[in-house]
């Protein structure tokens, strides 16, 4: 049971959250400008690193806010938690 730090509600059990996969994948401003390959890239291609990963979580059973977390996919250690729109923090807190 991971402990996910909601920027607003604080650390809560994983089961309160929805998982949103890779963070910072913006919907293209002008989808029509993308060819099929580029559009497929937006739809399906996601980073899948072993190590630190900026990912989205949704506090579904709490404050219903989406937010971002930097978490190691190797150790599950959470390094940062920050609101959507904010850039991914560089260094460890």
């Amino acid at each position: 049971m991971l402990l996910i730090p909601c920027p607003w509600c604080g650390p809560r059990d994983e089961v309160e959250f929805g998982y949103g996969g890779q963070a910072h994948v913006a919907h293209p401003a002008d989808p029509d400008a993308l060819d099929d390959a580029a559009w497929a890239d937006y739809l399906f291609m996601r980073d899948n690193p072993r190590g630190d990963f900026a990912e989205r979580w949704y506090h579904a059973a709490g404050c219903r806010r989406w937010f971002n977390v930097v978490r190691s996919t190797e150790t599950h250690e959470v390094r940062h938690s920050y609101p959507p729109g904010a850039p991914p923090p560089r260094s460890r807190p």
Binding site: M1, W8, C9, G10, R12, D13, V15, E16, A60, A61, G62, C63, R64, R65
Partner: protein
Amino acid sequence: MTADAPAVAPLAHRAADLARAGGDGVGAREVPFLAQTDVRADAGSSMPWPLPTEPNTVAAEGDRTVLWLGPDEWLVVGPQGSGADTVAQLQAALGDAHASVVDVSANRAVLELRGPGRHELLAQGCSLDLHPRAWGPGRCAQTLLARVPVILEERPDSTRLYTRPSFGDYIVDWLLDAIGGD
């Protein structure tokens, strides 16, 4: 709700069960027909009541209690029949500000747990830290109880549990089983 229109509280049919299950350091009963208003607005907006800005806390003034539900969301709880007045006051105060005021009085059933054992009881299905070090009057939280989304509101000598009426029977069954009164 309008006074004259016939209404049935969501958990009225379980009142006897809940009464029977009392004792053992815990008692539970439904608090029916509370007026509940969901407010969405910027934290800075002008309001007829002080809105708690610290997450998961409650502000009370007169017979209105305001629960923090999110950085831009609150639940204003008042006595039966006060909903229309709450909506009117909020809309007046908010004026043209971008905000959302929605009457959700019937959207959640409310149970009140009393007795010293109530936090241990909840701890059987809720993963929040309900120890006095972390929890007490004036706090609220949206979380899960067993498999159901709930709002917990801690009051001086009771805990209020808000849940969707459709989950009411499950929550009551769960409470009765946990209390051992079933």
